[in-house]
Symmetry: C2
Subunit: 214 residues, 2 copies
């Protein structure tokens, strides 16, 4: 398999975690978002939406990380990333959607570039923007995790799920935007635990071939 990815893209990062957790190998194809390579005709023929990640499996081009993760779970059921029961799966998918719909897309590079370039929002206010949506989302998620009897070492139970694949990149993003994480002890605890695991560590942006050299 081939993964079209950008080291710092949260959606690529969550896909890398899922593939690592399932023990699936892939070739890394870097798409440089900083140089808008995703908007080139060559890449748009692979994904008309001009977004990473895209996962190529034989002739099949898979796009949109929520759909890629579900496909991986269906086609490679070993090391499952969803609980066995429907209620558990609902919780895991809901946490994933809290991050994947209501937090990440609002702070996406294309949105921030629009704020800067089209609405002349200065850098301080761009940071305030990011902080607002991340804090709002983390506050709700922290409340859920604190109340949830199913919360274990991971967001749901003691096995990693989709929810952790979504959460860890969002925490990285929060740190980049200097969000104060002190109000979210459950999130920090899960993040600390996950980062020690090889599947998560290997997926880290700075470990990717297209990351800037230290």
């Amino acid at each position: 398999m081939k993964l079209y990815s950008y080291f710092r893209s949260s959606t690529s990062y969550r896909t890398r975690i899922a593939m690592n957790l399932k023990g699936l190998e892939y070739d890394y194809v870097a798409v440089n978002l900083a140089q808008d390579e995703q908007l080139n005709a060559a890449f748009k023929s692979i994904n008309p939406q001009g977004l990473v990640p895209v996962l190529q499996s034989d002739d099949l081009l898979l796009y949109q990380s929520p759909a890629i993760l579900e496909w991986l779970e269906e086609v490679y059921p070993e090391n499952p990333l969803l609980p066995k029961d429907a209620i558990g799966r609902m919780h895991v998918r809901a946490i994933s959607a809290m991050i994947g719909c209501d937090m990440h897309p609002i702070n996406n590079r294309r949105i921030l570039q629009y704020l800067r370039n089209e609405l002349s929002v200065d850098e301080d206010d761009v940071m305030v923007w990011c902080n607002r949506w991340i804090s709002e989302g983390f506050e709700a998620l922290e409340t859920r995790l604190a109340e949830d009897k199913n919360r274990g070492k991971f967001c749901y139970g003691n096995h990693p799920t989709f929810a952790d694949c979504y959460l860890i990149p969002q925490v990285s993003s929060a740190r980049r935007f200097k969000v104060d994480l002190n109000p979210y002890p459950n999130i920090v605890e899960i993040d600390t635990y996950c980062r020690k695991l090889k599947a998560f560590a290997d997926a880290d942006p700075m470990m990717q071939p297209d990351a800037p050299k230290a």
Copy 2:
């Protein structure tokens, strides 16, 4: 079952379509977003994220429409809203995510209110903002639908799927923001077909008990 909903909320609308397509009855509980009722302590005890929809099924509170739809599909498998094959399901979920992650949340009420109130963006530029993200998403989706041999009366094949549940509310939203739909003939054709069906028509915002009287 009980659905906490707001007539014009796209995420409530997509959930209503899915429930109607499955022939599931529910009591409608209106949450007035225009009066910020979703932020009241009473509603936040139901969903700490302060967002509709929430589906109550016995003691279970289901939140986040992508997770609610998957749960409905698992627990009420009749009138399936996902294709039988993994590749088909990937396409349907990917179209759903194009809308549910990359279009709808950017034009959500809370974001537009922030643009107006915190960044002093005037109403014309709010419309330009909405048009930008809807057009960008529809352009990519139209390309996919035009190329896809699986495109039938609906987004995928000749049975409605999650993708149609997401698409029709997004088209309503596009019309409200005066997006020119002429460049998207496949989208318009699917929309026209779906709106004639009772499950879609009954879910229309203006048919809900909390819609303003004509």
